[in-house]
């Protein structure tokens, strides 16, 4: 299943990309979402670097996810793919496009659940609403960060 989310941020692309380059800032991006816990990261987005975090399903089932960065092309894009977790595949591409002095942040996710976890049906019923909610809050947090003079409350 493919997901695409966009958020226009009233800041130059270099500033917005630099914010995303620090994995610690994921905490600020998911502040409104209680189901996020950063486990470990290597401090950069270079291909081969890894990041681990935990989210949860239905507030009772934590799910640990490990990702490895695969693309790093500052300040246009970077991406990561799943190396640990219950999905058959999970890739996340982050794109940053300049538009009239602002930056359009586009997140493109391709996610597949294996059949034994419910496949496409479980994706639609369980996973998709969680992803949509997470990226709605993430977009709001990004906008709030930009409007608050890009100060990062960690």
């Amino acid at each position: 299943m493919r997901f695409q989310f966009e958020q226009t941020v009233p800041l130059p692309r270099s500033v917005v990309f630099a914010f995303h380059e620090n994995p610690e800032h994921l905490i600020a991006l998911h502040r409104g979402w209680a189901a996020f816990r950063l486990i470990e990261h290597q401090g950069n987005l270079f291909p081969g670097s890894r990041i681990w975090f935990e989210t949860d399903i239905g507030r009772f089932l934590p799910v640990a996810l490990g990702f490895e960065f695969t693309v790093y092309e500052p300040p246009q894009r970077y991406s990561e793919q799943l190396i640990h977790g219950p999905f058959r595949s999970f890739t996340h591409l982050h794109e940053f496009n300049e538009f009239n002095g602002s930056t359009v942040v586009r997140d493109v996710l391709e996610i597949e659940l294996p059949w034994y976890y419910g496949g496409e049906l479980a994706m639609r019923v369980i996973v998709a609403p969680i992803i949509q909610q997470a990226f709605k809050l993430r977009g709001e947090a990004l906008l709030k960060w930009a409007q608050n003079g890009n100060d990062v409350p960690m």
Binding site: R37, I39, E40, W52, E54, I57, F60, L61, P62, V63, A64, H84, G85, P86, Y117
Partner: protein, 178 residues
């Protein structure tokens, strides 16, 4: 063995939930290198519970066979103790066991106590009878016994998967040969 059979069924269902939700979806321990030893303890539950799911609802185990059953119970207690000891290091990277898994383990431990107690109260006299193993199904619905037979196959398969994962992860983390 009616009560023991019902308790064993609930144990099996909750154990399956533990495997599916916490071992697989939540922490994916079959691909987590720190969980190698925990996987070995889990793999031992394959033959242990495979035997219990088939023996308890279907057979009269008298004399030495009764003590064999008690031996399986004791072996399972040893597996659980080993599991508790190893889990701390195994799940440290993830911040420890999920809260729900802790709760589930406590419930499973209480049910296991109930299984042992119901065995002694229900058929404790088998211990003093002549040694004999006979097909004498417990007075429970056939469907329940069929489900337990299916669960025996599942737990054996799951144990085998845990063992294979432990071997794979051990090879992955083994130091290179000089």
């Amino acid at each position: 063995m009616e009560v023991a059979t019902y308790i064993l069924f609930i144990l099996g269902v909750l154990g399956g939930i533990d495997i599916l939700l916490y071992h697989s979806v939540s922490h994916g321990i079959r691909s987590h290198e720190d969980s190698r030893l925990e996987l070995i303890t889990h793999s031992l539950r394959g033959p242990t519970y495979g035997a219990l799911f088939l023996l308890v609802p279907n057979f009269a185990m008298q004399g030495l066979f009764f003590w064999l059953l008690i031996g399986i119970y004791v072996f399972d207690v040893a597996i659980s103790l080993g599991d508790f000891i190893l889990e701390r290091a195994s799940r440290e990277f993830f911040g420890g066991l999920p809260t729900g898994e802790y709760v589930l383990h406590i419930i499973l431990a209480m049910l296991f106590g109930g299984l042992v107690t119901s065995t002694f109260y229900g058929v404790g006299h088998w211990a003093t009878l002549p040694t004999r193993l006979a097909y004498e199904p417990a007075a429970v619905p056939d469907l329940l016994r069929a489900l337990l037979a299916f669960m025996a196959v599942f737990v054996l398969w799951s144990g085998a998967m845990d063992l294979l994962a432990a071997i794979r992860l051990s090879k992955k983390t083994a130091p290179p040969l000089p």
